[in-house]
């Protein structure tokens, strides 16, 4: 479950327009939908599920990163995307800081192992402050993809 295995490249967002938690989640889900994901499903249902999960506890885990996620029966394999907010978005984070880097995950209903392995890889990348900094200052979507791909092939 490397980042490049599940991140939908076409759905990467270089600089989010949204400035609220709900706005960010909507924008990322819409980006995945526009990239061809969630066919046959109502994307609003996915947004609602992710927001519902946030009510249980913010996925803003500190250090300027958040990992909003949900399970949904519209996906057959785990998918996700990465978005950057240059300005930062308040996300009820554990450390009270705004979030600049978001990794959104949507998993199938019955694959807890895949979800845990994805979290393992995502967390390894996001633990690296240099990696997060590079994402925040990436000049293009392609540059973000290159960073993810490089992190997968050269894990720290």
């Amino acid at each position: 479950m490397r980042m490049s295995d599940f991140v939908v490249r076409e759905a990467i967002i270089l600089d989010l327009a949204a400035t609220t938690k709900e706005g960010v989640i909507r924008e990322m889900v819409e980006s995945l939908r526009a990239a061809g994901m969630f066919r046959g499903a109502d994307p609003e249902d996915i947004v609602r599920a992710i927001l519902k999960r946030e009510l249980l506890g913010s996925t803003g885990i500190g250090r300027r990163v958040a990992i909003p996620h949900t399970k949904h029966n519209s996906v057959e394999r785990l998918i996700g995307t990465v978005a950057v907010s240059k300005g930062g978005v308040a996300f009820d984070s554990l450390d009270g800081e705004p979030v600049n880097v978001f990794v959104l995950l949507v998993s199938p209903q019955d694959r807890p192992g895949d979800h845990l392995r994805a979290l393992e890889n995502v967390s390894r990348c996001l633990r690296d402050d240099g990696f997060v900094r590079s994402l925040r200052h990436a000049p293009s979507r392609e540059a973000i993809w290159a960073l993810l791909d490089d992190a997968d092939h050269h894990p720290t």
Partner: protein, 125 residues
Amino acid sequence: MHETSQQRKVVVINPEGFHMRPIAAFAETALRFQSHITVSRANHEADGKSPLSLMGLAAGQGTELLVKVAGLDAQAALKALLDVLGSLSVAAEVREQEVEEGNRASESRDKENGTLDSGFPGSGH
């Protein structure tokens, strides 16, 4: 008060594993205490106060973890952490005589978790 060091073995019982929600609850609890807190799986040691570090454990159902606490408030910290794991039905303490059995079960579950169709029933998290 004086510095003490305590540890407990726990086994992950939640079908979803030690995933983000219990990880965040565990780290938030750990941050209330002064003691140094780690959670280990085999040779991999994670910082108990860091959700990102704990996610690196990728601890699925059946995984045995060692919770270690060292410091002036170690006893209170360990109790609070075990309470959090218990209240979320995430992990249960392993009695010493169950350790060997747990190791064998955890190995076979790890192999199962390694396949694409783990077949665990979904449940909300």
